[in-house]
């Protein structure tokens, strides 16, 4: 009983806590997913911002080059001065519509830088790639300048240290002017633009960092701090828009942010509180219910203590009362008093017997002592003991005994079992009119049935009645005293015989069946 209750209470605590924990974990996971999605979106939009910013730098540069004074194609000194004094430019080449090179002037001596420049863009010039295969920026505002938008654009190509940009445009006479941007200077200006954005480098520190890599995977720029060891990091990548499409932009952001950790902490704390409250309630409940059990048990314990002392005087009282009973005539008025004394002392000794048996059972020392005998004799003797009190309550006894074959059993035990059953009938089935006691023998077993027509046992409690100290706590037990161990002891005694005491399903009242094996072996140590 106690173990089951404890298990139940543990379940009451564990189940809701577990359920809550599961929900919480799912919630955390969902929130992680949501937060991760938000972070990802934020990182992506940041990368888009950076890309747009880089495009603006290129647009500005394109605009600068479109607004420059158009020098005449053959103005070698002019072009040289332009290249020498324009910080963002390294070299300029001018190619006529027919493919002839107008600047730098091949025939009149080139500087080393010009020679290197022509060598590295030779393919572009020879293949006349400018103005045809170009990656175009769509956002250059060209309304203010004379050449139409289709007449300028970017050309990206690789040599030596990586991606280089040429801005090309056509002059009014359809010459192609190719301006090589200073790659390093472009990097420097991009860096400045990216690292001095308002709150840019600073604010990104709190969530991760942005890394810009060139076509060879070298880091050109980074803002924000690298994640510390152990911080979970997610990355989003983006190719820059043309003409810098070979550059890769990457955001590395932390996913195990403060918010998630706090959320998890709150959830865990909540779970702990819920579990604690439930456990506290369970403990109180357990203590309350176990107190009843404990009190009953203590009561039995006490009775047990005194029972030993009571038994001897009680036996004497019964003995002499019965002697006296035989001497008196039936008509004697005093005999009815004596009958009551005998019945009550019998009841008291059953009670004491039960208590002592229970104490033994608890010590594991309950035993039976089978002897060869006829069970019907024992039944008659018990019924005789109960007859006066049962009849006094208007209950008629119907005997149907057919187990005269002798076998080995403990008559005292059987008497105790049947006595407990009849005692219950006496206590609870007062309105039942009859109690039927029947015995049968078939094959290897003897069966005794005690059936009343009382209120019976409520459905679902058929097994509970055999638990010690369980009394069906409704009107049935009102005003009825008892120890609550009678049926438990009875079943124990039946089982010690190798038999069973069970409650049979009936439409009316209660019908207990005591089954005893009669192979002559019914006994145990």
């Amino acid at each position: 009983m106690s173990r089951r209750l404890t298990a139940l209470l543990v379940l009451i605590v564990v189940l809701p806590t577990g359920l809550l924990a599961w929900l919480a974990i799912r919630g955390v996971r969902d929130e992680r997913g949501r937060v991760a999605g938000q972070l990802r979106a934020a990182a992506e939009s940041r990368l888009a911002d950076v890309d747009a910013k880089i495009q603006r730098v290129l647009d500005d540069r394109a605009r600068l080059l479109l607004e420059m004074d158009v020098l005449s194609a053959g103005d070698t000194d002019g072009w040289r001065e332009f290249a020498r004094t324009t910080p963002v430019v390294t070299q300029v080449a001018v190619q006529a519509a027919d493919g002839r090179l107008l600047h730098p002037p091949l025939e009149s001596g080139l500087s080393d830088a010009e020679r290197d420049f022509l060598l590295r863009i030779r393919q572009i010039l020879v293949g006349r790639l400018l103005g045809s295969q170009v990656e175009r920026i769509g956002t250059v505002d060209t309304q203010q300048v004379s050449p139409p938008a289709a007449d300028n654009g970017w050309y990206a190509w690789y040599w030596d240290t990586g991606l280089h940009l040429i801005f090309w445009r056509r002059d009014p006479t359809n010459n192609l002017i190719a301006v090589e941007l200073d790659r390093v200077r472009l990097l420097a200006d991009l860096l400045v633009e990216l690292s001095t954005e308002p709150g840019g480098a600073e604010s990104s520190i709190s969530w991760g960092r942005i890394v810009l890599e060139d076509s060879q995977g070298r880091v050109i720029f980074q803002s924000g701090a690298a994640a510390t060891q152990g911080t979970p990091v997610d990355t989003v990548e983006r190719r820059l828009s043309p003409p810098l499409g070979a550059w890769n932009l990457r955001a590395e952001y932390w996913t195990g942010g403060m918010v998630g950790a706090l959320g998890s902490f709150l959830r865990v704390a909540g779970l702990v509180v819920v579990a604690a409250v439930l456990a506290g309630l369970a403990f109180v409940f357990h203590r309350e219910s176990s107190r009843e059990l404990r009190e009953a048990s203590e009561r039995v314990g006490f009775v047990n203590q005194v029972s030993h002392e009571l038994r001897t005087p009680l036996t004497n009282i019964r003995l002499y009362a019965e002697l006296l009973q035989r001497r008196l005539d039936d008509g004697d008025e005093n005999k009815s008093y004596l009958d009551i004394i005998v019945a009550e002392s019998g009841r008291l000794s059953r009670l004491i017997g039960n208590v002592l048996s229970f104490a033994r059972r608890n010590r594991g020392a309950l035993t039976i002592h089978p002897v060869e005998g006829c069970v019907d004799d024992t039944l008659r003797s018990v019924v005789d003991q109960f007859r006066p009190s049962l009849e006094g309550k208007g209950i008629e006894i119907s005997l149907d005994l057919a187990a005269s074959r002798p076998f080995r059993f403990d008559p005292d035990a059987v008497e105790q079992v049947v006595g407990n059953l009849l005692s219950n009938v006496e206590k609870y089935a007062g309105g039942g009119k009859t109690v039927e006691i029947a015995s049968r023998q078939s094959g290897m077993k003897t069966v005794v049935r005690v059936a009343d027509h009382g209120p019976g046992i409520p459905a679902g409690r058929e097994e509970a009645v055999f638990e010690p100290f369980v009394r069906l706590s409704d009107r049935l037990t009102e005003g009825v005293s008892g120890t609550g161990i009678g049926l438990a002891i009875a079943r124990e005694l039946a089982r010690l015989h190798g038999g069973e005491l069970r409650l049979l399903a009936t439409e009316v009242g209660a019908c207990f069946e005591l089954e005893l094996p009669d192979d002559g072996q019914g006994g145990s140590a």
């Binding site: 020498r84 240290t161 200073d182 790659r183 390093v184 990097l187 690292s195 001095t196 880091v219 701090a225």
Partner: protein, 443 residues
């Protein structure tokens, strides 16, 4: 046909320029001194001569050009401790020398760049000093980004009438962003076009001297190797003093050789040679320190007694002063031919020859360093010993104090270059001296 036309065009242009500059001609002539190593050339064979263009613009009395300086400080983890403390102190002292009208910005970088103080007038000195004080050590070394942002701060107040400069202090290798000497050199060259010089101060033994020297060299800034942090204050002081003694900027010198004369090379510095035209730009000139340019020419064959115009030199620069003026000038370079060897030798101009020997010795010193880098230590040493002997010889010949110093430096290098343990410091010291010598600024 076209050559003739060209020559006459140069002549006309030169005379026009000279005429236009007539009122200030005296000042220009003093400021720019054009000398041939041998005004008398041996007749009968092609000859190599050196042309020296000396620039020396004096400071206007009681005037100091306002400066626009970005102090860029490496705050990578390795700067922690004394280095950063000394750097702060040095920057503080330097800022205290500035006038309220000067502009300063403070930039710190590690993995990323932080502008501690955007470009601002020094009038609010407390906030400048507070920005310097807020320097904290951090992570890696994004040197390229640091310089870029420093230059951007200078650019906010970019003005040809100010001395525009980035002062970079670093003790480590650039490890975030572009990190090759070539790339940093290219950045320096681009900044020079805008008139921004980058002075680099390498602290300790952990920085890349090739990168720092190249960045300074190509932008016409200074490069200093500071082995111990306690010297930082002195170096910052010198650097700021240098910036404050600028007398002219935006210097452009153009040498157009006459037909028959061939420009072979420009010694020790970046220059553009296209055909017969040599163009050299110099970021700034300093007070009382002659800045010179040396061009090696191949003179045409001449006959005894003949005089030839070898080249026309034209120049322009912005003279700093209460009213800044762009000065322009032009001058022919003439030489006479003689069959008399003695006459030729006697005509040798010691000042030019000393400069030439100094540059050649510096080239040899560079070569020795390259050999040493390849592990050819003994060859490097013997080259330096030969170089020492060569310079000593010339020092005696011309009685030159400068060359004596160069000889002593090479002698010391020859000894130290074999020392494995001290090589790092030695290499940094050699790089520093090589750049100083090739910047052709007289002390």
């Amino acid at each position: 046909m076209s050559e003739k036309l060209n020559v006459s065009w140069v002549g006309i242009a030169l005379s026009l320029i000279v005429a236009a500059c007539a009122p200030t001609a005296d000042a220009s002539r003093e400021a720019v001194n054009i000398t041939l190593s041998q005004p008398v050339i041996l007749a009968g064979a092609p000859q190599t001569v050196y042309l020296k263009v000396g620039l020396n613009v004096e400071r206007e009395r009681d005037y100091r050009a306002p400066v626009n300086v970005a102090i860029v400080i490496d705050r990578s983890g390795s700067m922690q401790g004394e280095k950063l403390l000394r750097a702060k102190e040095a920057a503080r002292l330097a800022v205290n020398r500035l006038h309220p009208d000067d502009i300063v910005s403070v930039i710190a970088y590690d993995d990323t760049v932080r502008i501690l103080l955007p470009a601002t007038k020094v009038a609010d000195r407390t906030s400048v000093l507070a920005a310097i004080e807020s320097l904290q050590p951090g992570g890696s070394t994004a040197l390229f980004a640091g310089v870029s942002v420093g230059a951007a701060e200078v650019r906010k107040f970019l003005d040809r009438e100010r001395v525009n400069r980035v002062v970079l202090l670093s003790d480590g290798l650039a490890n975030v962003g572009p990190d090759s000497p070539a790339e940093l050199g290219a950045l320096g060259a681009s900044l020079k076009k805008e008139g921004v010089a980058v002075s680099t101060i390498g602290l300790g033994l952990g920085y890349n001297e090739d990168l720092m020297a190249r960045l300074a060299g190509r932008s016409d800034g200074n490069h200093t190797f500071v082995e111990h942090p306690r010297d930082l204050a002195r170096i910052f002081d010198a650097e700021f003093g240098d910036a404050m003694s600028v007398t002219a900027q935006d210097v452009l010198v153009r040498i157009e050789c006459s037909p028959g004369t061939r420009p072979v090379r420009v010694l020790g510095r970046d220059a553009e040679i296209t055909g017969r035209v040599v163009t050299v730009s110099v970021n700034q000139l300093y007070d009382a320190r002659e800045q010179y340019i040396l061009i090696e020419l191949e003179a045409p064959i001449g006959v005894n007694g003949e005089a030839k115009r070898l080249a026309g030199v034209s120049w322009s620069y912005l003279r700093m002063g209460s009213t800044p003026v762009t000065e322009r000038g032009a001058q022919w370079v003439e030489a006479s031919y003689s069959g008399d060897d003695d006459l030729v030798v006697a005509s040798e101009v010691a000042d030019v020859m000393v400069a030439v020997v100094e540059q050649i010795a510096t080239e040899q010193n560079r070569l020795a360093l390259d050999l040493r880098d390849q592990g050819r230590i003994e060859e490097a040493q013997s080259l330096l010993i030969m170089n020492t002997a060569f310079v000593k010889d010339k020092a005696d010949l011309y009685g030159s104090q400068t060359l004596s110093e160069v000889a002593m430096e090479n002698e010391a290098d020859a000894q130290n270059i074999v020392n494995q343990e001290e090589w790092n410091a030695q290499r940094k010291s050699m790089k520093e001296k090589q750049l100083k010598r090739s910047q052709q600024r007289k002390q």
